[in-house]
């Protein structure tokens, strides 16, 4: 190869690589742009402050669905995060060979289970015995979907904590369980939070598992044992309805949902970046 052709190949390849990188983010940008174009006009104060209006009346909002989604995500986090994080800690720290191997394998399988199947599971174990759709059942279904993601990322991040820190803590005469909770977990904290955010973002948009658990509701939240509204459900219902006004609101709902995920991730990052961080 002459120096000249080598330079040409270099330039061409660099551009191809840059184009590939651009293609990766293109879908996200297109989705955002399309949502803004279609939905921004319907996002107004009413949308955040009011209940849906009955069919035929113009206006109203999705305030109940926004609150409902926040409640469902909180429930899912309360149910799923402690088990997920402690489970990940166990998988990373256990000296046993068999049980962690089995648990890891099953977590990966659970990660691949279609979310509607998780919805049926929640329907069977919570909705049927309680004889009603409820926020609890919806939160449970979302927690089950979050679990494998949280377990596996926590495990990976706990593994990244250098053994020298564990040794330093053990040599100080600190009991093993305190070493794990007070030294190892905090060191992995920043990374685990990233994993948790990914999991929350993933379930925030889940619709299928909520169809026959949370069910949806056109009114304000009425207790954890009652059906509850959720943004994805509302978007689904409005998008398949035959009214133009509802379609606009569905677009607005999608935009707000993405905004919500963004705000939650950003807030969690801010809240935890103050002190010294360990591995990311």
């Amino acid at each position: 190869m002459t120096p000249r052709s080598r330079r040409v190949v270099n330039v061409v390849m660099s551009w191809l690589a840059a184009a590939a990188a651009g293609l990766v983010v293109l879908p996200l940008l297109l989705i955002l742009a399309f949502l803004l174009w279609q939905g921004a006009s319907a996002v107004n104060v009413d949308f955040f402050a009011h209940l849906p209006k009955p069919v035929g009346e113009v206006g109203g909002g999705m305030a109940n669905a926004i609150v409902g989604t926040l409640i469902l995500l909180t429930l899912a986090a309360i149910l799923g995060l402690p088990i997920g994080i402690l489970g990940g800690l166990y998988l990373a720290e256990s000296r046993d060979r068999r049980l962690p191997w089995v648990a890891r394998f099953l977590a990966d399988v659970l990660n691949g289970v279609p979310s509607i199947v998780v919805g049926i599971f929640a329907y069977t174990v919570i909705v049927l015995p309680m004889r009603r759709f409820s926020a609890l059942a919806g939160g449970f279904a979302l927690a089950v979907i979050m679990l494998p993601i949280v377990v596996r990322t926590s495990e990976e991040l706990v593994r990244l904590v250098p053994a020298s820190l564990r040794e330093a803590a053990l040599a100080l005469g600190i009991p093993q369980w305190k070493v794990l909770l007070r030294v190892v977990l905090p060191t992995a904290r920043a990374g685990i939070i990233t994993g948790v955010m990914v999991a929350i973002a993933r379930v925030a948009g889940e619709t299928a598992p909520l169809l026959f658990t949370a069910f949806g509701n056109r009114f304000w939240h009425q207790g954890l044992d009652q059906p509850i509204a959720a943004l994805p459900l509302q978007i689904f219902a409005y998008a398949i309805a035959p009214y133009d006004d509802w379609h606009r609101q569905a677009w607005a709902g999608a935009l707000v949902l993405i905004g919500l995920v963004f705000v939650v991730s950003f807030a969690a990052r801010l809240a935890t970046s103050g002190r010294f961080t360990g591995v990311r």
Binding site: R95, P162, S164, L165, R166, E167, A168, A169, L170, A171, L172, G173, I174, P175, K178, V179, R182, V183, P186, T187, R189, R275, F276, T277, G278
Partner: protein, 252 residues
């Protein structure tokens, strides 16, 4: 009971590999004992057996007995946590906890051991940092991250962290191998100051360092304690041919 460390017939394994063979030795209290030998000779394993850190590695096993200041380290039913509380340890690479400030690092042993009173912690931190000759350098940056300090300062934070729980014995596993000569000199000075109050065992690759800081030296080779005696004597007039070969640089 100031009777130092008494080791009898100590054997250690990593899985099937027998890395320490029948070590028997008595280490004097309130003095510095150096452990030298080529890489892989078992010197680190030896001191890790003294505070039951050897067993932290999966598949590791120990037999024999170790008495530290009268305490039977391998007594059945004794929690290794009790042992490690009395025996501090400093490692090869400085390893301050990255999520904690300098202050929190130094008092970590106390705080995670259940001490809450601020005044007790403040006092312990200042005492330990003074003992580690670091107080004047860091007293205005106690709130800074432990990993923001220089390597030599980090290692002294680790020494202060070990000293804060007031151990009777301090084990040092090549504490200067990651440090420059100036930081090394500071640590050596520190060792000489600490020896009046503590029993110190230091593993080192650096024979000059062993000669500078220790009263007694043990030479390990292939998992055996070849020679143990007064440092000056061991370096100038060793009894064993293998010790002589090692210190004159014929191998290792």
């Amino acid at each position: 009971m100031a009777d130092g460390i008494v080791v009898r017939d100590l054997n250690a394994w990593f899985g099937a590999a027998h890395v320490l063979h029948g070590i028997g030795v008595t280490i004097a209290p309130k003095a510095v004992t150096a452990v030298i030998g080529p890489s892989g000779c078992g010197k680190s394993t030896f001191i890790r057996c003294l505070n039951r850190m050897h067993e932290v590695v999966p598949g590791a096993r120990v037999t024999g007995s170790v008495l530290v200041e009268g305490m039977d380290v391998y007594a059945p039913g004794l929690d290794p946590v009790q042992v490690r509380r009395k025996i501090g340890m400093v490692f090869q690479k400085p390893n301050p906890f990255p999520t904690m400030s300098v202050f929190d690092n130094v008092v970590a042993g106390l705080r995670l051991g259940g001490v809450r009173e601020r005044s007790v912690l403040d006092e312990a931190a200042e005492r330990a940092l003074r003992q580690a000759a670091l107080w004047d350098e860091v007293k205005d940056q106690l709130g800074k991250s432990g990993v923001s300090l220089s390597g030599g300062q980090q290692q002294r934070v680790c020494i202060a962290r070990a000293l804060a729980v007031e151990p009777e014995v301090l084990l040092m596993d090549e504490p200067c191998s990651a440090l420059d000569p100036i930081a090394t000199a500071k640590i050596e000075e520190l060792i000489l100051e600490l020896r009046s109050t503590l029993t110190i065992v230091i593993v080192t690759h650096n024979m000059q360092q062993a000669a500078r800081v220790s009263e007694t030296t043990g030479f390990f080779l292939l998992g055996e304690l070849i020679e143990f005696g007064v440092t000056r004597q061991l370096f100038t007039n060793p009894h064993d041919k293998r010790t002589e070969d090692y210190i004159t640089g014929r191998f290792g």
